[in-house]
Symmetry: C2
Subunit: 417 residues, 2 copies
């Protein structure tokens, strides 16, 4: 524990020192490092796949679930996608140095708010090795240093990937320590990592409940929660039911394992009898769980408990409730929503406006699938997570969310009276 | 403890329910509540002064320091200033509903990012009763509910002030519970308050070191640190020394007890012999502590330790160091600064630019006093604190910093492919 703490502290100091140099580097230099890193990932893909094979063989011996093993697995194609991801970042516009606001005060002071990197960004994540490259790339692009604390199951893959990134930084004339892998993957080191005050300017946990609770409980550094998505689709009395069906099927089944997939269908009672049987047919392969109103129309559906309504299934499973009106829909959502993405399908303008105003979530959607709430789909270019908290960032977090602002005040000798 | 927790939880639910109604209320209604509250504070000033007298007599019996008693004291004039503060807030432009950004995606989705209230804002603060009125006013103006946890020494004053605010909310047709005073001022209740997950969308501690450390250690809700101001004035080789003297005197002595006052003077060695004796004369009444270079020029000055350089004196006391060059000044600042406000005095453009770029603080100033880093002086209209962290808000926090944004996405049936 003593040794862990020391070495993490030392890593932290190295990251901190590197962060100053990266923050001060020209955008061209940082872009150059991204291009070099993309090249190195491709050049060393054999190397990466060997490292990944070592992780995979340990994982297979450990009884890991097939879905988790799939997330861990790299292929030529996945390595190519990581490289392309870095090249895509390189092409995004620069965010550092943007003048967010500028004005002159009556006393002649010139005030600007200038976008600056956060400094050192910490990421705690699970076993997908592409997160290593994506997150480090976003940090380099936004002028930050990053400390990456991945899963022990991906340690060999992460070492191989970060060594490409570090070599690229060095070749570009930037400090390799702008990307640091925390190799101690013990639980104790994770807690220490969350408490690296004075080093981590922002911690982003990417993982499930227990990681997020652990961060809330133990972190002393500022953090942004990339939380659950218990997303609802509400089919209003004024909905075009064909449109509602298409949106529901897309939101639930296009990729059920992600946070912006729908988990609950709410249907206005006036259209429930017409809509629910069509929904059941269209959602073939999806297990439905319904409230009383639903089961009156679809008696073969099992009962949904409050716990079901509160659950992010991340699976081919959907809870369903019939609601009396828009108010009841909004009440249900405010009770069970995780504040991620909430959709209404309606042609009633007043209902759409009230839904948008009264539903408290990172994103509210009218007549569109919840699946659009994603950095790429909303035009951010890339995303490091989706915030379900309200401070700092809300919804998809891209490059701008990895920055802060600084007041720059220029005067000619003004003093305060 | 059980009872405390329950009652705080109940208060939280009331605040949460009220927050939805305040967030949805028109700006005119919230402005009306502010005007009514200002009127009530004035109408009931006798009442407020009586309550305050009870707090003062307890405080005087408890051996409280004179400066603290002064902060606790209300007068007709201070009550009038509180009322005027609320009226000034009323006149500020509306922040809720501002469309921060809006665009159309290639698939026809219309996307807007709309400014929305945070929800429930918690404030923990010390014994100045005017904070009760100022903070609640800022929260009402920005569409938030607020839970106020002031000091036990100001409890009677705070009760009297919040009852004016609550009555004004009711009269305006808004829920009184949008302003709630946490009357349990025990340490345990403070900890419970920091852990009101699902209720507090943002916690703002306004107080000293021990409060801030306690929040970092115990809080599980998102928070913004209103931290120390260990501010520097650096007099560069290229400075106009008359200007430097005026800025230094202003930054140190105009109001030494506040966070944007200067605590350390750094002087370039080329101008130290010319500047320091003038500074000593101009800073009559200020105790100087100097490094070796300083004491070679001002031998009568006591030695400054690293601890002195790290201290926010908040007093007529200044640490002084002679530095070899701009790099050494920036290094000193990066070592000791609390990241609040840092000033350079220079006529050298390259030095000014490098200082602004490389110094990592909420505000950097060229040829102006650090005292300008304040919500009022920077045109925010009002301030709820000054953030020394980089997430969410940095520098003076006004109405906008009490808001979040929400993505509003409007489509015509789009699904993701």
């Amino acid at each position: 524990m003593g040794v862990t703490r020391t070495s993490l502290g030392e890593l932290g100091l190295r990251a901190k020192a590197a962060s100053r140099l990266v923050a001060g580097a020209a955008g061209d230099t940082r872009d150059g490092a991204l291009e070099l890193a993309a090249d190195l990932l491709e050049e060393r893909s054999r190397n990466l796949l060997d490292a990944n094979a070592a992780d995979l063989s340990r994982a297979e011996g450990s009884g890991m679930l097939a879905a988790q093993i799939d997330r861990l697995r790299l292929s030529e194609q996945r390595v190519g996608a990581m490289a392309e991801g870095l090249r895509a970042l390189r092409r995004l516009p620069e965010v550092v140095g943007e003048v967010v606001e500028g004005f002159q005060r009556p006393n002649g002071l010139h005030v600007e708010r200038v976008r600056v990197p956060l400094g050192v960004v910490g990421i705690i994540y699970e076993n997908r090795p592409n997160v290593t490259s994506d997150a480090a790339g976003l940090c380099i692009k936004s002028g930050n240093a990053t400390m990456l604390r991945g899963s022990s199951s991906a340690i060999e893959s992460n070492r191989a990937i970060t060594s490409c990134l570090r070599d690229a930084l060095s070749k570009a004339g930037l400090p390799a320590d702008a990307v640091l892998l925390v190799e101690d993957t013990s639980h104790e080191a994770a807690i220490d990592f969350m408490r690296l005050d004075g080093v981590l300017d922002c911690l982003i946990p990417r993982g499930g409940h227990s990681l997020v609770s652990s961060v809330r409980e133990h972190a002393t550094v500022p953090f942004v929660i990339d939380g659950d998505g218990n997303c609802h689709v509400y089919v209003d009395a004024g909905a075009d039911l064909d449109m509602a069906l298409a949106i529901l099927v897309n939101a639930k089944t296009q990729r059920p394992g992600v946070c912006n997939a729908a988990e609950t269908l709410l249907v206005h009672r006036d259209v429930a009898a017409g809509f629910l049987p069509r929904a059941r047919t269209a959602l073939e392969g999806v297990q439905l769980l319904g409230d009383e109103g639903t089961r009156r129309i679809l008696p073969e559906v099992g009962p949904a408990t409050d716990e079901d309504f509160a659950t992010e299934f991340l699976d081919m499973k959907l809870s369903v409730a019939v609601v009396d009106d828009l108010d009841a829909a909004i009440d249900h959502i405010s009770r069970f929503s995780s504040g991620h993405s909430e959709a209404i399908v309606t042609n009633d303008l007043a209902a759409a406006d009230r839904f948008c105003e009264e539903v408290d979530a990172a994103a509210v959607l009218v007549n569109a699938s919840t699946r659009f709430v994603d950095g790429g789909e909303l035009g951010l270019g890339a995303e490091i997570g989706i915030s379900t908290q309200k401070l700092h960032a809300r919804g998809p977090m891209g490059l701008r969310e990895l920055t802060s602002v600084k007041y720059v005040v220029r005067g000619s000798g003004q003093v305060r009276t």
